[in-house]
Subunit: 334 residues, 2 copies
DNA sequence: CTGCCACGAGAAACCGCTTTCTCGGAAGGT
DNA sequence: ACCTTCCGAGAAAGCGGTTTCTCGTGGCAG
């Protein structure tokens, strides 16, 4: 296939404009302070040769790549897609591009992946919910500038954006409680994930407040199929309501239950988490805790931009999920 | 915040191992052919200093970045997310990373974005359905190595992976026809998009074969909200079935219709396109044409890998959508 | 008329790594 | 004992830019 093309270099432009490469560089970067005619000659030569500086060479000389990494456990997860989309758009406005990677194939390599990709760019937005705190703490200096996603409570010295899963699921549980539910199931996420543990802690504080509640934790997962697979377990557990790890699991669960002849919300109420667009469009629509993923992407970029500019980044923030009461929850009928 | 750290360089390793940088380079790249003791000294020094070569400098010297760009109209579209996810995973296995960009904010900049991002990496996977053929043809040499997505019929000399939208929607229409539908609506996508035009052509060939069919084209879009917004127009058009541009539009449309008291599929049948996971989980589940997005991502990487290796890339292929008959279509009741 | 300064632009060093070229020394052949 | 050959490893030249340093020129003041 096509011979790998050799782009025109600064030296060629310099030769054609009969100036030195240094002058071309200055003109291209607006640092030129000399005769207008010279600048014009350079610009003309550059235009004629269709020249544009090599980002690679530029990066090496300048020590900056105008690239930021985005590392998540699983790119296929819609929640991350929304963050990525917003991050990419925000970064693009500042001329930055986003380099992506996920660690779904080997969670244990999360640190290695982050370290490797970090060297290719200026900063990293890292979502590593399963990374042990000690590992993260040891790596944070190597990875800086870094913005963390969903590591509430970390001692790492880095701006962090998170979702208050604990409070969010607590509110969902309270909602179910107020409807009259007393036997609840938690269809869990990956046990190693921090966000799963925050949900468990939220539920623990909830049950502590309500001794009359019986809560059973069931194996779940993160995907539609995981929710579908959990349906039988939920039915067999005899609960009147199930709190799913996220919306995907909730939607899968709802359909799994209906396949089994269990009606939602009449027989069993179901809640999700995230408020992905489909949560609203599902039948029944899913009661969930709404998480502002785009906002997360936008603010992640704000923090990154501040860090690479050497400024103080905005504060770490914890977004409070907003309860979206929809059709998948109702008072128990038995 | 943290002082921007200076990574250890090859020179420092060389000094510590008391060899030249050239030797360190050779050892690091497995090209060393000398005393084992020297290699060991280098490895030890590298380990002690926690050295790893700068990808930037390496890229400049080698003329390769081990990065591939992925440019699409809108990263938020689930179809692209699936492709990206598969592309990223495949590329990662070969040590490549994916750089992303979307042109949603300014479709006219599509070429500029592609050109810019292309310079940062070794190849590009480009999905630019709205780019005029003449523009694409003129840019293809600049962008090579390049793999195109969804540009069937392009004269560009580049491997291309596409979906046969034309045949796919034709089959969907035939399905509706066989159910007895004679008055159909097409809830269109962006008029400028090539994939919309292929759908229109597919429908044109369908109506040509069935003169008894009345087809009306309605303004639609690409998103859930676009589908929702089209509901009233579909109802008012008096058709018994609607072919939506994609699954998102179809799902939005189904819910919009039901909000208006129109039942799917009893009053109006609806079809989608893509077979995103939610199409199956919607109520009613969406009859659609299934498109293998992950496969597209995988094969895109195969082509890229071949191109950068200087090999002949696999053939361009056109994937045939597979009809998924589900609950959103049924015989007309009036 | 001389001396100083400002200014415009080039030479050269550098960013960090790879690779070709080169050279000194040891091994091997006669 | 001498010359050739080979081998291990360093010196140096890029890769394509940016930036500091330097220098020659022209203008202005003394």
């Amino acid at each position: 296939m096509a011979t790998r093309q050799r782009r025109t270099t600064i030296a060629e432009v310099a030769a054609r404009a009969e100036v030195s490469p240094a002058t071309v560089s200055r003109v291209m970067n607006g640092r030129f302070v000399g005769e207008a005619a010279v600048a014009e000659r350079v610009r003309a030569a550059a235009a004629e040769l269709d020249y544009s500086p090599s980002p690679l060479a530029r990066g090496l000389a300048l020590g900056t790549t105008r690239t930021v990494a985005f590392v998540v456990p699983d790119l296929a997860n819609p929640a991350f897609q929304d963050i990525l989309s917003a991050l990419s758009k925000s970064a693009a406005r500042s001329g930055y591009r986003v380099l992506v990677a996920d660690s779904v194939e080997s969670p244990s390599d999360e640190l290695a992946i982050a370290t490797e990709i970090r060297r290719r760019c200026d900063a990293i937005v890292l979502c590593a919910p399963r990374m042990p705190e000690s590992v993260l703490a040891g790596a944070i200096d190597d990875l800086a500038p870094i913005v963390l996603i969903n590591r509430p409570g970390t001692s790492a010295n880095a701006p962090m954006l998170s979702i208050d899963y604990l409070t969010g699921i607590h509110h969902l549980a309270e909602h179910l409680y107020s409807l009259g539910h007393r036997r609840l199931a938690y269809v869990a996420g990956p046990g190693t994930s921090a966000s799963d543990q925050y949900r468990r802690r939220g539920l623990a504080s909830f049950t502590a407040e309500h001794p009359d509640v019986e809560l059973v934790a069931l194996t779940g997962g993160v995907s539609l199929d995981d929710g579908l697979a959990a349906a039988a377990r939920v039915r067999d557990s005899g609960v009147t309501a199930a709190l799913a790890f996220n919306d995907l699991v909730a939607i899968g669960l709802v359909h799994g239950l209906e396949d089994l002849g269990v009606t939602v919300p009449d027989d069993v109420s179901v809640t999700g988490f995230d408020d992905i667009p489909f949560a609203r469009y599902n039948s029944p629509s899913i009661t969930t805790a709404s998480v502002p993923h785009e906002e997360l992407g936008i603010q992640a970029w704000d923090r990154v931009a501040a860090l690479v500019a050497g400024e103080e980044p905005g504060h770490s923030v914890q977004f409070q999920p907003r309860l979206e009461l929809r059709g998948s929850t109702a008072a128990p009928t038995r």
